[in-house]
């Protein structure tokens, strides 16, 4: 059997054909579109390394069936910078030294972009930590991650939240 779905991936329209209904969005990005920023940590919804935005919302791409998302607009870590200009969340992660091995970082950054867009956490560190709890970091960079998210959020509050991504 063969399937074909249309997606917008990081702003570009893509038509993707595949032959197996079991393909998840994570597998589709990594194996068929060569976008390996989203990581496969657990493949079971437990770590957040595969976090991307679908239609502006952060989700775990490992538990999203590609076939179910025909027509969706995806944003991955590869689509965040504008040319050489890093997204404010990316810049804040560098400024705050918010990673060690970096494996969880694309998921952390996409989750932070989603969190800021949701606008529920405000500048409360406890709400930011709680809102980021779906992203595990085996290196334990949590303290610096939370600092980066709070810092980026401050810079971004001047912008319209809808334009955060």
């Amino acid at each position: 059997m063969s399937f074909s779905i249309s997606l917008t991936v990081n702003g570009a329209a893509r038509k993707v054909a595949f032959d197996d209904p079991r393909v998840t969005l994570l597998d589709l990005l990594r194996e068929r579109l060569d976008l390996t920023g989203a990581k496969k940590g657990c493949d079971r919804g437990q770590c957040g390394a595969c976090t991307i935005l679908i239609d502006g919302r952060r989700i775990n791409s490992c538990l999203a069936l590609a076939l179910s998302h025909d027509g969706a607009d995806l944003l991955t870590i590869e689509g965040l910078a504008r040319g050489d200009a890093l997204h404010p969340v990316q810049a804040a992660f560098i400024a705050h030294d918010s990673f060690q091995c970096g494996f969880c970082t694309p998921g952390q950054i996409m989750s932070a972009v989603g969190l800021i867009q949701e606008g529920q956490a405000g500048h409360d560190p406890e709400r930011v930590r709680e809102g980021m709890s779906g992203n595990l970091c085996r290196c334990g960079a949590y303290v610096d991650i939370a600092d980066a998210v709070l810092d980026a959020q401050k810079r971004l509050t001047k912008l319209d939240r809808k334009q955060v991504a």
């Binding site: 952060r58 989700i59 999203a64 069936l65 179910s68 989750s111 969190l115």
Partner: protein, 352 residues
């Protein structure tokens, strides 16, 4: 994962007809179903994708004061709907205490009700499990039973229902609207999930093909808004399933309890309504001694299903604390750490 046919119906009747076929399963967000399929625990031969069915993603505030929640409303959207969170704060708090932000953005109301148990032996296809394979036995007996039942269990299965959402819903008399081949029917949430009996393979009263279309909270659920909490003990403060949880909702006049609602999570294969405890509280003063007696009643029939007697003690404490927090008043905004016993709760009993 086994392979499957994928079908995307455009109407409810098309969906119901397709899902009534043997081997078919509905796919909502897939956050539970795909996980189970990856582990070989669920092996549907056909997925009927309900995500694109029209009209199931609305939150309708009903004129009399109730609310009707479409089966495809995402958990996060419901919890963050300002009207909903204000009128049913314990439900919003329970939703926000479940899973992670990413999962809540995807997970649907219908899928949350029908998520399967988190019994580790159910998940491990090398273990014997009556729920996965009727008649195979139950490896959880004598095993690691921290997430297992202390109420309503039988020799055939000691698993629990893992949903946080369902706990305040059952306390508030939620009703499940179901569409099937024979038309529409309604089932109170309290009788929607099945206790194991000797057929633990069936989680709910749904017949093949039946689709949840909505969950309704009646107008009578709204007057509890000023005194309603959800409290959840888990192994870490966030992103973990309940070991034990409780929803408490009160109507208070002066210091007297006019009406009480209490339900427990993590203790049985269904969200557990504690009616005897509710009745006992009516007319009592809303004080700790009364809450302790209510907690005794709520757990009166409890017995350990393994090495989990601690859950009975824990559940009593959580019922007392949830009632005390509810009596102290619903916070203006869902706490930063939803449902956490470690959150700062001014004015409440912290030593229970």
């Amino acid at each position: 994962m086994n392979t499957f046919d994928y079908f995307r119906p455009t109407t409810i009747s098309e969906a119901v007809a397709a899902a009534a076929e043997p081997g078919a399963a509905y796919l909502a967000a897939g956050t539970n179903l795909l996980d189970l399929m990856k582990g070989g625990v669920a092996r549907p031969s056909r997925l009927v994708d309900v995500n694109h069915l029209p009209g199931l993603d609305q939150i309708e505030h009903l004129p009399a004061g109730g609310v009707r929640i479409g089966a495809l409303v995402r958990n996060a959207d419901l919890a963050h709907d300002p009207d909903f969170a204000q009128r049913f704060p314990a439900v919003a708090e329970a939703l926000l205490s479940g899973a992670s932000a990413q999962l809540r953005n995807a997970a649907t109301v219908g899928g949350n009700l029908l998520q399967r148990t988190r019994c580790g032996y159910f998940y491990d296809t090398a273990s014997a499990c009556n729920k996965r394979e009727p008649g195979a036995g139950c490896e959880a007996r004598g095993g690691d039973t921290g997430l297992h039942a202390v109420l309503g269990w039988t020799e055939s299965c000691i698993a629990t229902n893992p949903s946080d959402f369902c706990v305040p819903l059952v306390a508030l008399d939620a009703i499940v609207e179901i569409e099937g081949k024979a038309g529409r029917r309604e089932v109170p949430l309290e009788s929607f999930h099945r206790l194991p009996g000797d057929a633990p393979e069936r989680d709910s009263v749904l017949e093949p093909g039946e689709l949840i279309v909505a969950v309704r909270l009646p107008a009578e659920a709204a007057p509890f808004a000023a005194h309603a909490r959800y409290l959840k003990v888990r192994e870490r403060t966030s992103y973990a399933f309940a070991v034990v949880s409780a929803a408490a909702a009160l109507r208070i006049n002066g210091s007297a309890v006019v009406e009480a609602r209490i339900a427990l999570g993590g203790v049985a294969l269904k969200p557990w309504r504690a009616r005897a405890a509710e009745e006992m509280l009516v007319g009592e003063r809303s004080v700790e001694t009364a809450f302790r007696r209510a907690a005794e009643l709520a757990l009166a029939d409890a017995k350990p299903s393994g090495d989990n007697n601690f859950k009975i003690v824990l559940a009593r404490g959580i019922v007392v604390r949830a009632l005390a927090l509810a009596a102290a008043g619903t916070p203006e905004r869902t706490p930063a750490l939803p449902a956490s016993p470690f959150a700062h709760n001014p004015g409440a009993l912290l030593n229970v």
